[in-house]
Structures are given as structure tokens and as C-alpha cells.
Symmetry: C2
Subunit: 418 residues, 2 copies
Amino acid sequence: MQIRQLVVEKAKSAKDASRRLLSLGTDVKNRALLRMADYILEQREAIKEANQRDVEYAKDRGLSRALIDRLTLTDKRIEEMAGALREVASLPDPVGEIIRMWQRPNGMMVGRMRVPIGVIGIIYEARPNVTVEATSLCLKAGNAVLLRGGSEAINSNLAIVQVLRQAASESGVPEDAISFIDVTDRTAIMEMIKLEGLVDLVIPRGGEGLIRTVTENSKVPVLKHYKGVCHVFVDRDADLNMAKKICLNAKVQRPGTCNAMETLLVDEPVAERFLPEMIQVFRDHGVRIKGCERTRTIVGGLEEVKEEDYFQEYLDLVLNVRVVRDMEEAIEHISRYGSGHTDAIVTQNYQRAMQFLREVDSSAVMVNASTRLNDGGQFGLGAEIGISTDKVHARGPMGLEELTITKFIVLGNGQLRQ
Amino acid sequence: MQIRQLVVEKAKSAKDASRRLLSLGTDVKNRALLRMADYILEQREAIKEANQRDVEYAKDRGLSRALIDRLTLTDKRIEEMAGALREVASLPDPVGEIIRMWQRPNGMMVGRMRVPIGVIGIIYEARPNVTVEATSLCLKAGNAVLLRGGSEAINSNLAIVQVLRQAASESGVPEDAISFIDVTDRTAIMEMIKLEGLVDLVIPRGGEGLIRTVTENSKVPVLKHYKGVCHVFVDRDADLNMAKKICLNAKVQRPGTCNAMETLLVDEPVAERFLPEMIQVFRDHGVRIKGCERTRTIVGGLEEVKEEDYFQEYLDLVLNVRVVRDMEEAIEHISRYGSGHTDAIVTQNYQRAMQFLREVDSSAVMVNASTRLNDGGQFGLGAEIGISTDKVHARGPMGLEELTITKFIVLGNGQLRQ
């Protein structure tokens, strides 16, 4: 009951702040972001000290090395946080943009204006830099944030939030535009996602378990992606040399990311020419291959792929390889086993490229490019708060625009409804 | 358990159909819509007969006259349904539109393509014409519909759905793109809104109770509006003659609609000049006025407005009138008591018009126009499936575009992630 009350209070303050943000100009928001960058650097010793307490506690509890790595704030990471704040300050303000305006026969002008969403709840785990990144993007788009970071990073987050709030209030931005729920109990998340009317959108960032829990229990809209089971289809008319480079990049450039390839689909007519060399290259890069029956008749000594493997997000140097009859079978495979994240075709055939673009129902569909390029920065969105595989509001990398919504505006001179 | 199974089966068929819709051209969808219009007219006797059974049953059960009116299908209404189908066929197809495409420094082209959402669940009450309207808009936008109409209209809906499905399948559109849940038990709704992964979006249409139940229990995104508590603010620099006409239109042209005015806010400096005549006009039109203290000192014999009245959606010839100190107080009032639906300012002052547009956080904000004009048809969207007061995906009248989402497409020539 007390947790509920605390969360409601924080959400109410954030809501009030979000209303005041509606009247703030771009200059005020940018000034706040730049001051935040300065203060983060000025206060780096205090932030590192707080972080050290989190790291030691994590070590005492025997948490994994990967988690401790994500948790640790080095000088480099602190400088990156300041850099991210400055970068967001330099991006164009999405708020107030009038997307299109048209005149109706009665002379009334109707248009859509981009406006902030309101209060955005961010639920995340061990990485304290998310505190800075999420705040900077939400604030630039005119939203208040309601942050709920993981218990592992509580001291780091509190230190960072204090710095951000101070910089905000000294710049004319209400400090409650950055509200942090300092309750490490999981109940706080459950309370937060029930606050329809106070919280307008929730973005969970973290493991699939966290995201499923949030989605299943939320009464507030959620933007998310569960996982990335990404495919590259090498078509019969592919430039096989290009295909080899794209497949290698998609798999090994950074296998632990959601846009890395998990299954390679090869068109039957080119399978015998393409696979032996491709699989050799993968083996040279330490990739463990699981092949379908046809793949294993072409290349000997391969592990057998099982149907459940096709659903796997390995996040590792493991790859399924399947030979398909034609592109239709490839699209069917992607539709059945894929996660709607990122899928690519390699082909020089115009018609099949267009058909693949149209019929593959994923957040990013690519022709002749590596799946690893599905990213806000690579796409030129400036910065991203995450990648959505949802089917409403935003799909694919979410930048500043995706943290806004439009409203209709009407400029009339006395128009009435007849 | 049996209900759950039936709902899941229907949703799965709709999902399969939605995948097949991805490859259908505009011509096929339009042909299906036009054939539906023809068949609705050809089968009008069968439809009216089924409807007659619903109407008689409703009368036996002593349902309200208003409900029986909404339920009854006259020749005129059937012709309107056919007309709506033809109108939607004539609208441009939103699917496949590439909204913007830009080149990245590495030569890769990145853009957003408009695509269908997938399966859209429509939950509605007694009006059988919703079956036709919702189906036509969803189908044109490339979506499958999963319909769940009210028990009062079950025979009418089944007759209409049969006609629509036949027309679809004869035109090359999978008939399961129009799936109807013929379980009148309310459990069916509860099962339907749990089907994350099968149903992509739910649009409830009906009373506030239905909408709240759906929103609170859904695991699928919901687009909705609860109610319309709309305001007109008459600024000190208003053309008072224009203001009078706009206020009258906003209140009396059709008081039972969500975009009718419920509260009139008048700027103090013009209150004495404006209110006596305005209130006289309202009285002449049978409007019952509830006034604030200041209003009641200006015009005698008025009922007193209570704070809770400001939250009311009267949907009737009743109006709150409040005198405010200035525009800031008007905006504060709208923010506290309004529903974020439609709010208007009447003014000739440029700066305040712009500030009102920016700071009022509603789905439609108007300058010098009647709130009654917030409507898909009036705005030129062609047709609307409803008005959303949500803060994600769509806000305001929802036309064909709002029944789509974008995905990213990439046209490369071998780009890799460095």
C-alpha cells in the first residue's frame, strides 16, 4: 500500500511536470540537456563513488560478470553519457512540427501537429547509462520520464538522477520531468504499469522475462520488442560474393545483438554453389552451424537443425542454415519462425526484391544489406530509445519522432457544422 | 473452455487471412468492396428479415426505444451501408505508400512503408451497420477483422457477415479476412482481448462501461475514446458575433455527439457584453444553463454549476458556463476537467491563438471553428472508424491511415555494419 502511494505520487508529479513542458521552447530544453552534460562530467567522482557501491554489492552477491560489466561506470562511459546528452541537444526538436495542412471546401485549414506524449515510463535493468539516454530523448521530445531502474544500479541511478534534476531545474525545466522511483521492490513496477491516465506509455528495456511481465500486466500502452530472430535469404539471382559478405557481417560482426542473423535461408538453385564456401567462411570465424537435411547433403559433418532451433535467438556464434525451394518458402519460413524484427534478401532480381519488401512483415525489411544495419543511428534517426516489433504506434528503431504523437489542429474563420 | 477454443480458432483463421492480404493488390480489395455493396442490396430482404427477428426479440425483452432505433435496419440504412462500401472503395489505398526515403552516407536508401496492422478486433454493441463500416475500412487498409457484435444484433450481423464473406471470396479475398465471433456470451470478449500475437489491435465501440472493461483487461493494444467533454473558450479579443454562432452550433447542432460542447468558458473582460445575449439564444433553443457565480451575477435566474458538473458529458441540451480570469485559467480548466477530445478558442488575437493551439492537449484543437467539425469526414479523411483520445498511435478521427503502421525498408547494394 505504501509502495503504491509512493509510485502514484511520483507519477502525479511527473504528470504535472509534463503539462508544464508543453509551453517550453526548444532553447530551454536544449539548455537543460547541455547543462546536464556539464554536470555529469563535473560530478563524475560522486557518480563513480555511488556506482562503486553498486558494483561491490553486486560482487558480494555473486552476480554474473556480464551484469557487473553492464553496471560499471568507467570514465569512458561517463564521457559517453555526456556525449549522448550533447548529441540529443543538437538534434532537431520534433515538437510543434506541422506535418501537413490542407484546406477543406468550407475554407477551414486542417493539419496534424506533433506534440509530446506526456509521461513515459521507462523500466530497465542494470545499465545506469539508460537513465541518461532515456531521459535525454524523452525530454527533448517534451515528455516527462518516470524511471524505474534495476535494484543492482540503485545508487548509481540516484546519483545520476540528482545531477539531471538539478541541471533541469536550473535551466527552467521542472525537475519532476525526471522522476525516479527509488523502490527496488518489484511491486513498484506492477503499480507503475497500472496507472492509466497518469502514465501514457511504458517502454520496458531488458530481458524477455521482464518485458513479458510488463506487457501481460500493463493497463498502459507498452512499446517493446521481445527478441530478434533475423533471417537472410540468399535468392537464386543473388550476387553470391555480396551475399557472402552480407551473411558474414549479419552473423559475426556482433552476434549478441537483436539484429544479428540467426537463420540463413538459401534458394535451392544456388545452394550447391553457395553453401560449401559460405559454411567454410563461417567455420573460419568460429560459427557453429546447424543444417537442414539438404544443407547436410551439400556440406558434410554438420549438426542437424531441429524445428525448435528455428525459433531460437542464439545471441551467439550459432547459426541455422536451411535450403528452401523458392522465395515463397523463405517468406513462409520467416512468417512462421521469425520475430518480425529484421529480415533481408540478397538478390539482383527486381521483381522478387519488391515482393520480398512487400510481403515480409517485419520492422525492417532489407534488400542487399546486412541485418546489423537496423539501428536508429545507422538509419539516420539520430539516436534511438529502442527497437519496436509492435504493430501500433512505432515499428523499428524508435527515435525522437516515435516519442511524440500528433494532434489535429484547425484554423478556421467561423466555420460551423451544417 | 469451449468459448475460448472457438475464439482462438476464429482469431487464427483471421491471422492466416491477414498474411494472405499482404500480397493482394488494390484492385482486388476494391472489387471485393464493390461486390459487397451489390450483394448487400441484392440480399436486403434476407438481411431485413434477420434484423426483424432481432428487433422483435429486443421488443419482447423491453429494451429501450433508443436501442431499438439503433438496431433497426430500414431500406435507407441498408442503402447507406452499400454507399459506405462504395465510398471506401473509391478512397486511395494507404498500403504500400512510402512516406519518405532518404540516403545514408554509405549509399543505403532507408524509408518507411505503410503496411497493414494485421488482425483488428472490433467490439461493438447494437448497431449492425458497424459490421459493414468497420469491415470496409479494415479491409481496404489490408487488415483482417475479427468482429464481435452485441447479442441484440446477432441475427442481423450473421446475415450481413455471410453476404460480406461471400462477396470477398468471390473476389479473391480470403473469406476469413471477415471473421465474426458468433458467441453472445460476454466471455467471448474477455477471451478475444487476451490473444496477444493473434489480434494486433482492438477497437471497442460503444458505451464507456464496455470501453473501460476492454481497456482494463486487454493484453492487446486498444484504441478508444471514453467521452467528449468539449470546451469553447471565448477570448477577450473574439469577434463576439462569430463566437455566438460557433457556441450555438457546438452546443445545439447535435447535442448527443461526443464533439458537442459541454462547457462554455468566457474571458472576464467580455463576459458582461457576451453572456446576456448568448444565454438568451441558448434559452431560445431549449438549452438548460448551469452558471458559475460570476455568470449568475451577469445573468439572473440561472441554476448553479457544481464542480462535478464540469466533468460531465451531458450529451443533451445542458451547458455549463464559466467566466475565467484569462486564457491561462481557461487552459487550466480544460486540462483539469476536459477529456482531451475537442477544444476550441474564438479569438482574433494571433499570439493567444497560437498559444492555445500549442498548450491545449486534446485530439483536436480549433481556432474559430465549431467543435462539431472534429470528424473524419469533415476533416477530409474520407471515412472514420472512430475518434481516438489516446496518446499513442492515433489521436483524433481515425481513417484508413490510422489502420496501418509503417515498417522500415532498406534498399542497399551490399552495405555492411562497420
